[in-house]
Symmetry: C2
Subunit: 190 residues, 2 copies
Amino acid sequence: MQLLKERIRKEGRVLPGGIIKIDGFLNHRVDVRLMREIAKEFGRLFDLTGLTAVVTVEASGIAVAAICAEEFGVPMIFAKKAKSDNIEGGLYHSEIFSYTYKKKVTLIMAREWLGPNDKVLIIDDFLANGEALRGLTEIVKQSGASLIGIGVVVEKGFQPGGAMIRGQGINLQSLAIIERAAPDEIIFRD
Amino acid sequence: MQLLKERIRKEGRVLPGGIIKIDGFLNHRVDVRLMREIAKEFGRLFDLTGLTAVVTVEASGIAVAAICAEEFGVPMIFAKKAKSDNIEGGLYHSEIFSYTYKKKVTLIMAREWLGPNDKVLIIDDFLANGEALRGLTEIVKQSGASLIGIGVVVEKGFQPGGAMIRGQGINLQSLAIIERAAPDEIIFRD
């Protein structure tokens, strides 16, 4: 998506360790007009026939997922990070490793909001190691819902998440794939 | 807001300890069409002349705040919960007590996204003890931005947050104020 790549080139900052900060429009301050354009682009990339929900995980995926859900006329459901190790009944859950928190985190979702009659699209802002998306796809699998695909705004192509997800035969569409990031240049995959 | 109160009466569940679960349309599965109606209602309740941003805090405020921001034509900025006690430079921060996590949490926001030339509306999904909103107003104050007011979707009128915020002279508008909640009935303030 050209508009997005231009914004990343213009406003993104590359920090040591391959960290790409684009928190001026994606995941701290959010340019909601750009999110609407992103939602329209996902609408073109996926066949959304029969879609019943957009699924994401807290926190920074929520803004783009909410606007996608409105664009597609369905509710948005976000998986939560469990507050304790004690998982109550009535929940789907999946354990992931969080690179942000540097520890295991359990994603949870109430069973009542997702089931075998659902057909969902997963949306997230960022894909790097793919742990959050692995957890979300596990939750969708547990629910028996069918998965149309996964839409990601920015994928770090030099980290393993994208290959892992595509290797499972999931239709993953990333609007910008960063192939290489150095302080003086950001190279996108074509 | 009548539409909202009807949804709370129809779908809300009251759990022991005054916990009101409305996670079927507000803070787990999100009815984004209702969020759009809520955004329009906030647009009627506040004078948004000169508004530059909608401000909220992660995680469950983000969906409604994003749709409000789009409705008002401004970006949305969400304060984050600090991952460690070590607060870097370049951040506004405010310490709050989180009743969800049962511990102190520090809210942070990058200084570069909010300053004295900004005029903001704070939006959140829920108001009970008011700690998150106290932290957000402190961050807005630190930035030098002016605060138009605070819009809350659901206020628990039997908890002290609302009185605390109104006592500071802040224009707080809650679309539904629950005065009393028992498993068999939910009473709203007029």
